[in-house]
Amino acid sequence: MAPSSLALNTFRGGASTSLGSLFQHLTTLLQSQKALQTTCNKSQKTPSQGVQESSGMLSHWVVLVLCCLGQLCADQSMKPQLAAPELATNNPTLTTVALEKPFCMFDSSLHPNKSYAIYLYVMKSSASTISSVVTDSSSKPLDSTFQQTHGGHLGPYKAASFDVPNCVSPPRLADAGDINKVSDVLKQYLFRVGDDGTCLYDPNFLDVCNPPLAPDTTYRFKYVLVDNTEGIVKDQTLWSDPIKTRKAKLPMKIDIWPGRRSGSMIVITSILSVSVFLLLAGLLASVFSALVESEDPSAETKGMSETTQQSELRPQLSSE
């Protein structure tokens, strides 16, 4: 339960998110303490469990106090976050960004008997000077689309609408390793902005269109809590930190020069060249010496005596 929020916020810097991360940490800790208490009450008490319970109670009260303090500044520090990098290693890509769904961000504004939906708004960072308001004058959420805002250039557009994620039992990231559970974990835990490449060009598409983003562009995201019956905005997060999509380089700029020659190549080339030269010199020397011997008459007699000796030796060998 806890790892979903705990794991992802540890690496993020910036003072503005640390309070939000602390609050998230505390709420999940609070839930885990509640769960521990209920299980302790149900099961048989042992001395070790009793000790755990008392220390649990103390930390529970500490957590509650901090929690109330945190709730006062909750609205100031809730922001959409990127999905956990341990889970989604390819994020953001050239045209998509995977965001964590807003777990436990709107819990203070939820009434038990009403139905709510969460809308996700996307805009380019540069559009914040033009317009960054997601509600109209009567507190209803904006119904802008990707085409109307030129891909978020003129203002925020609605990219998605989904149910409020389950704060009490969030998906366990450890389950993402299991083939059977990974689809559910991904669906419950994150939302991929820019996932649908065909809805822009499909005239029959009636749902909220989530087309791919532009590469090398900074975007900002916001979650909005909407009451389904009244259709008005109940709560909203802050605009997220600017998130930039990847930039792609051209392959023709890749340098394929191999660098220095390797040592092996130099050794082989030099030694073999020298040896070829020596062999040619040796051949010339032996041919030359053979010519000199054949011209020299004294050498001829020497050669003759050698051949007679060899011819004497051969019959001896053949007899043996």
Partner: protein
């Protein structure tokens, strides 16, 4: 007389031994080069597309040099045993020609190995994999070869340095496959027995366990390095031995009479 007799015998014995070793090395060289030319890892299309396939040329030369060494070693043994000046002169000259060819093979293999850098394969992968508009038949053949080879390679790895190669650079693949559906080719995903990704969303997001996260450079450079070093260094060793045998043969040739 006995001394020179013994000297000649020793010389003959050494030369025959040297030629026997050359003959065996020739057979080994032929076998090794046939193994490399048969391309057991299927990497030849990659080199053909880079127009840098000279380590295969070196292996082809090695096959014929191996045969030549075997034949010439037999000629050398016969010549030494008969102490025939003509035979030995023919042996020396032909052996020098074979020496030159083998030298060319070794130097080619060693030199062209240096060209096979990761960037070379990266550039070729990005420019040729699944390229849709090919200029001519030659281009089309090379593209098909590269695509097929990479599809095979990607069963166990992705990209040259890693799958992020597909994200960091534009490519011919990116022209026909958009980034939202194909951040990297689906062959990079872990596949089930029916050659489908076991979870496409997990693969697209980069969830560990659902895509191949290691780069293919080791799988490419390993076999190619072994080929280049095998041809170059084994050939070099044979040539060192042949150098000694040839010098000895020349000395022996100059000492015997017609």
């Amino acid at each position: 007389m006995a001394k020179t007799d013994n000297g000649i015998r020793i010389c003959q014995g050494l030369l025959i031994l040297g030629n026997v070793v050359i003959g065996m090395c020739g057979i080994a060289l032929t076998a090794e080069c046939i193994f490399f030319v048969s391309d057991p890892h299927g990497l030849y299309p990659l080199l053909e597309a880079t127009e840098n396939n000279d380590i295969y040329a070196a292996a082809w030369i090695g096959i014929f040099v191996g045969f030549a060494l075997l034949a010439l070693s037999i000629l050398g043994i016969v010549g030494v045993m008969k102490s025939s000046k003509t035979l030995l002169l023919v042996y020396i000259i032909l052996m020098l020609i074979t020496y030159a060819f083998e030298m060319a093979s070794c130097i080619t293999a060693a030199t062209h190995r240096d060209f096979l850098t990761p960037n070379l394969f990266l550039k070729q992968m990005l420019e040729r994999y699944m390229k849709s508009d090919t200029d001519n038949n030659n281009d089309k053949q090379m593209t098909e070869g590269v695509t097929k080879t990479w599809d095979n390679l990607m069963l166990q790895c992705c990209g040259v340095h890693g799958p992020l190669d597909w994200q960091e650079y534009t490519s011919a693949f990116r022209m026909t496959h958009n980034d939202a559906d194909y951040p990297w080719p689906h062959n990079c995903c872990v596949m089930n027995t029916r050659s489908e990704p076991i979870n496409l969303d997990g693969c697209k997001l980069g969830v560990p366990g659902f895509y191949n996260s290691n780069g293919c450079y080791d799988a490419i450079s390993g076999p190619l390095n072994r080929q280049a070093w095998g041809v170059a260094w084994f050939g070099f060793a044979i040539l060192c031995w042949t150098f000694c045998v040839l010098l000895g043969t020349m000395f022996y040739w100059s000492r015997i009479a017609y």
